[in-house]
């Protein structure tokens, strides 16, 4: 009876392993196939021609510029909030946290609609801006605003937990050694949190680069001013598939490198 049950569990174990293996490889296959398909669609020569086309070059340039500016603004606006939420326990902190996290789960179309209603010609803020001759919708600025809106949670969440991970005693020690709160932040807290913050910055940049829905609704789709890479993929898909695929490949390769880099940075931070 003993041997019987041992055999049973042995067979059961093999079966479990086989099923797990099928599921794991099945999933990896499912993720890899579509991405691999992109690379089989164009020859290297076609890729070069497509990526050098005006629509692709405009989109690449615009995406790089807007995503960089968005990321810088997110860091400037988000760092104080992340630090305060990490260090100060105030009433309503959870509400503020939820609010800053919201764009992660919100459909980008909701974000686009909200931005349009707020900053549009007849919008809540847009009307007042119009008095000064400022019109945001369908401008490059609108692209940046959309990107900030959807990508800011990636930085703020990460920044908050990086600041929380900095032992308060370091800051206290700095203060007793004669450095004020600002000096302490720049000489102690920031350098210690730096690698974790960098992960957040890279993720934010990647998310801004991939922004599509909100941009389309709030900024429109004009080559050279608001047509970023995701929008250009959507547009050229109907005219020149090679350009769409070339841009898609650029985004896939970039995103893969970003996540790998972030893993490397955070892994190094832990060890």
């Amino acid at each position: 009876m003993n041997t019987c049950s041992i055999q049973k569990t042995g067979a059961g174990r093999t079966l479990t392993a086989v099923i797990a293996g099928i599921l794991i490889f099945g999933f990896l296959f499912f993720i890899t196939i579509p991405l691999a398909a992109l690379f089989t669609r164009v020859t290297p020569a076609d890729f070069v021609t497509a990526i050098m086309s005006p629509a692709a070059l405009d989109a690449l340039w615009l995406s790089a510029v807007t995503a960089s500016i968005s990321t810088v603004i997110v860091v400037i606006l988000g760092t104080p909030l992340a630090y305060v939420n990490a260090r100060v326990a105030y009433r309503g902190r959870n509400i503020v946290d939820t609010l800053t996290d919201l764009p992660i789960v919100l459909p980008p179309t909701v974000a686009g609609l909200a931005l349009l209603i707020a900053f549009g010609r007849n919008g809540l803020v847009g009307q007042s801006l119009g008095i000064f001759g400022i019109y945001l919708p369908f401008t490059t600025l609108a692209v940046i605003i959309s990107q900030i809106f959807v990508s800011s949670p990636f930085y703020i969440r990460q920044a908050r937990s990086s600041f929380e991970a900095v032992d308060r005693d370091y800051e206290s020690a700095s203060r007793t050694l004669g450095e004020g709160p600002a000096g302490t932040f720049f000489r102690i807290t920031l350098p210690i949190a730096a690698s974790a913050l960098l992960s957040g910055i890279i993720m934010t940049f990647a998310r801004a680069l991939g922004e599509f829905g909100a941009t389309l609704m709030f900024a429109g789709n004009f080559q050279g001013t608001t047509q970023t890479m995701p929008l250009a993929i959507y547009t050229t898909m109907q005219s020149d598939m090679n350009v769409a695929v070339a841009l898609a490949i650029v985004l896939v390769v970039f995103s893969f490198s970003v996540i790998l880099t972030v893993k490397y940075i955070s892994g190094r931070g832990e060890s």
Binding site: Y170, S172, A173, S174, R175, T176, L177, G178, I192
Partner: protein
């Protein structure tokens, strides 16, 4: 000279420090159990926590007077603080850590370099000046943290459990080094500890804090030998603290006569002294055994007090000594109250102080 008196409401109790003063060049040991409020006292003195009420005056300068609305920020108090975990800045080298306070004070670079070098030489860490602090041993961290705290020549030095993070062997050496550094610097100093031995090694005066209140204060002698408070006497009992006379036997061996029991010790003191033998240093055996330890006494077990992983075995050898041994040892030796045993300890295990 530090003069202070303050109150602060903590989660479990109110910290009420009626009066806490430290004279120029003097060292005060603040002892008490974990959670008694010791570290909070240091944080209030350094300005990291604002007390609910009270007044702190250091060398004639008012650092805090809640009633008058005076509260000087920690960076402007010039109070050195050594944290229990040392809080060495992990992204800096040993030298950069020590230089930190000097840079904050905008000292010229040559002077900073000179002061850092001088301190490193004094502490014996000049060889590791350019090491990242994450690579240091416990003793090296402690020396670096101490050097960093005293580098800006603070008006008051606060040490939070300076030896707690070290292993027992390093503790012995660092206790001596700490005492010597404190004396040579001449900075008034408050050292927080839960070890009476640490307190005795460095302190001129002692204050016992329990549940947020100072329950005993005075010279170490007064505090230990007039245990007006149950907490203090329980501290003293478990440490085998006695008063005795130093005698020099024929042949130059020093011993201390405690109520007729002669305990061999290593000391340069004479006359009436206090003696402390840590319970962990005592060895209990059924029979006398040959060893290098200078002290071996026969006596009877008077009580066994279970303390969790440790047990205190009290034996009467003319005086009652407490030995801390594991429960396994008790069952292995089958120790019972009334058994006759031998207690053995080295002469160097006997701490002698005035």
């Amino acid at each position: 000279m530090l003069k202070s008196s303050f109150k602060s409401v903590l989660r479990d109790f109110t910290l009420d420090v009626g009066e806490l003063n430290v004279g120029d060049g003097k060292t005060l040991a603040l002892i008490g159990e974990n959670g008694a409020g010791k570290s909070t006292v240091l944080k209030i003195l350094s300005g990291l926590i604002r007390p609910a009420s009270g007044r702190i005056v250091l060398n004639g300068r008012v650092l805090c007077d809640i009633e008058q609305g005076v509260f000087v920020a920690p960076e402007d108090r010039n109070i050195g603080y050594m944290f229990q975990n040392y809080a060495l800045f992990p992204h800096m080298t040993v030298a950069e850590n020590i230089a930190y306070g000097l840079k904050a004070r905008k000292m010229p670079q040559e002077e900073i370099d000179e002061r850092v070098r001088e301190l490193c030489e004094r502490m014996g860490i000049e060889g590791i000046m350019n090491e990242r602090v994450t690579r240091l041993s416990g003793g090296q961290r402690q020396r670096t943290a101490l050097a960093r705290a005293i580098a800006p020549r603070p008006g008051l030095l606060l040490l939070d459990e300076p030896l707690a993070a070290l292993d027992v062997r390093t503790q012995e050496q660092m206790r001596r080094e700490l005492a010597s550094v404190i004396r040579t610097e001449g900075i008034p100093c408050i050292i927080v500890t839960h070890s009476i031995v640490d307190a005795l090694a460095v302190a001129d005066s002692m204050a016992v804090i329990d549940n947020g209140k100072i329950v005993a204060a005075g010279s170490p002698e007064e505090v230990i030998h007039n245990p007006s408070h149950g907490f203090v006497s329980s501290f003293a009992e478990n440490l085998n603290l006695f008063r005795g006379e130093v005698l020099v036997e024929n042949g130059g061996t020093v011993c201390v006569d405690i109520a007729g029991v002669r305990v061999r010790a290593v000391t340069t003191l004479s006359g009436t002294v206090s003696v402390g033998i840590r319970p962990e240093e005592l060895i209990i055996s059924r029979e006398k055994f040959q060893s290098s330890a200078a002290n071996a006494f026969r006596g009877r077990i008077t009580s066994i007090e279970d303390n969790g992983s440790y047990a205190y075995v009290y034996a009467d050898i003319g005086i009652t000594l407490a030995a801390a041994i594991t429960r396994q040892s008790i069952s292995r030796l089958d120790l019972k109250v009334g058994d006759e045993v031998t207690i053995t300890f080295k002469a160097t295990a006997v701490q002698v102080f005035v």
